[in-house]
Amino acid sequence: MTTTKSKPAADLGAHLAACESFAASTAGHEWLRTLRRNGVTHFTELGFPTTKLEDWIYCNVAPITKLAFKPAASADASVTAKQLSPFAFPDWTGSRLVFVNGHFSPALSSLPAPQKGVTVTNLAAALASGDALLQSHLAHHASVDGSGFSALNTAFIADGAFIALTPNAVAAEPIHLLFVSAPGDAANTAQPRNLIVAGTNSSAKVVEHYVSLGGAAHFTNAVTEIVVGEGANIEHAKFQEENLEAFHIATVQATLARDSRFLSHSISTGARLARHNINLVMTGQGVDCVMNGLYAVGGKQLVDHHTVADHAQPHCGSHEFYHGILSGSSRGVFNGKIFVRKDAQKTDAKQTSRNLLLTDTATVNSKPQLEILADDVKCTHGATVGQLNDEALFYCRTRGIAEVNARRLLTHAFASEIVNRITVEPVREHLEQVLWARLEELIEKK
């Protein structure tokens, strides 16, 4: 039942036509063209997912399929640096790569000072210069047959961020990737494709940041592939604060080699429909990874996190913390899967999903899922849905804090628990500001 084709090919006409004209107009190496063609083939086969598919049961993407499909061909030049100032992190000293509608804008970006062993550039430039890493990694990690969206993104591979670290290289500053949807006509589509390849024992911190300038509906379909080498240490933070009409579909696919460390954050406050797929595959022993997430939504928003911790090798640890705050008639979906493969003994996997409902009309669909095929493992998960702790509220009130303020305080504390795990201070500060405002809005509006 779950393998049924999602949508007849006839309905994909507009999308397929766009694929074709894109393929015809864009140059590239033969391998890249094959890759794109492969994306088209899979997209034709898979189409857009429907709610009949188990993984999309709560996430109805029909509005996206109805949206005019207008993949942007280049960065919109009308965007000015001033427009981007609200999205700058306070006291930021690191580099910033700006992508407008999914395409790199050199004018708005500030590249980092050249550093030995650290490449920070955009994908189009890297493709032009023929970086060997691209052919061996691009689209080798995020499968095109996973969903129609990643296949569609593959069909349109053109630009995005490309970060490469040679063995033992340590990026001096965190890297800010800002994906901007330009204001103006509705329904522009951005399909950035990011690739991060970290060599043995290297280290870097990357922030993926999605924002929109206008208020019109637009569609972001992003795929980020991260290859973490042996003993490397990568922190990846994703912050999505697009406008409330936007559609955001994104996949983060990380392959973690022996003894590596990976810290993933996903903070989602914007978009009418946001779907985040975060898949971590532990391909070596001794990996330690953390998945950390927060969603705070209201109105008619839908935010859906699907995470997978795939323990393919023994002696790995994964820790997952997801908090949700839901107001209005929003819906929060969390599907966290811990998959312990046959020989992955001594796995230590923990997962916590907690949700706070602020209104009668908000909904939570939480599915903490365990699939365990090895016997010597420690796996736990816990999920809660509910209100603020009565005792904590009472405690605050005995200390002279009015109930309304006590609620506010506890709600913020609930969010801070997640934000505090981010190690880049300016990002944390920015998030605290944005989240504070957002939470106030959610609490007020309810």
């Binding site: 899922q369 365990l370 493992v377 809660t384 509910g386």
Partner: protein
Amino acid sequence: MSESTNTIEEFVASDYKYGFVTNIESDTVPPGLSEDTIRFISAKKNEPAWLTEWRLKAFRYWQTLSEPKWPNLTYTQTDYQAISYYSAPKQKKTLNSLDEVDPELRKTFDKLGISLNEQKRLSGVAVDAVVDSVSVATTFKTELAKQGIIFSSFSEAVAHHPELVQKYLGSVVPHTDNFYAALNAAVFTDGSFCYIPKGVRCPMELSTYFRIEAANTGQFERTLIVADEGAYVSYLEGCTAPMRDENQLHAAVVELIAMESAQIKYSTVQNWYPGDKDGKGGIYNFVTKRGLCKGANSKISWTQVETGSAITWKYPSCILLGDNSQGEFYSVALTNNCQQADTGTKMIHIGKNTRSTIISKGISAGRGQNSYRGQVKVMKGATNARNFSQCDSLLLGDKCGAHTFPYIDVQNPTAQVEHEASTSKIGEDQIFYLNQRGIETQDAVNMIVNGFCKEVFRELPMEFAVEAQKLLGVSLDGSVG
């Protein structure tokens, strides 16, 4: 569809030429399923027209469905046209006492340790023994009748209390519910019916023993229990099945209805033939069980110990409709060798202040695959709903698997839903400790497993709890070493 229907009709028609297969022991309809088969079953059981119509409606709906693929199970699909849908043990017309029961059947019961006489005298349990679809003996009827309790086979209930059956049949599990429920509604042959009138506390534990006897006959039982206002009943269901090489299908439906302040406690010990070490044979168990807490302050409690069957697909659920109603689910599921279980529960909170508890213990050994699949759904109006779920898995050996698929859907901010799950194995230090106290490894494992399941066994009625503990031991035999 029309083409395949034609083939079916031809197939059935061609068999008709030779008449129905009637051997000495049982009265069996030739394999195959069509409207004619259903009419045959209905006619054979002297059913009223409305029931025949209901069966046909279900059958027509069933034809539009396909077998669900979502469970975490792998098995060869059943050919529904290769099953014989009716088989009744040969018996005398009416039975006034146990002495009239076929001595051959009595012997089988004795082998299973369910001597009706003993049951009657010693344990105070009324037994409605079902061998292949038709009830052969019902005990304690007079005693129950004094209290106004109706406890009989389904066919008898249809004959004597058609108004009650018609009112409640399919009201909790409609024929449109799922593939197996639709199939059951179309072809069910017998089962148990129980009605507890207002304010009556059933003085004894009611129980039914099921057995699958004739080869190639799927059992399609239907149980309907109605507890009227303030009534209480505890119902036991226990199953055993003899060795069989072919896979046998069992698609039962159980419906429970609890009116205001009524309580129903439903306990199951299922130990059907699980297949041999390589997974050959064994029972396919596709059961739909659901309870409706219709009135305020009602309570339904499911307790199950699932150690048998090659495939178990079973989700005893509670619809908490009445305010302050309660649902409980306690389960132990054990899979050894090649057994597969996909089981769990659904708690649907609709009324205010509804509460539910889920305790599920899964044990996997050998190459067994054990899945917990559960849903806790809190609807908009379910103010102050409360749920606590705990799903623990125990893995014995490195070839088995434990899976958890909990769905938590909450639409009310005052709800409090908690879910906990853990997976563990038996520690070498635990075994070592018991070994040095002179307890052999196999016994030590049994002891630890029983301790792991204690929370569930505590919920079982006394005799069942003892049986269940023994069962776990037997089922785990050879899983160590």
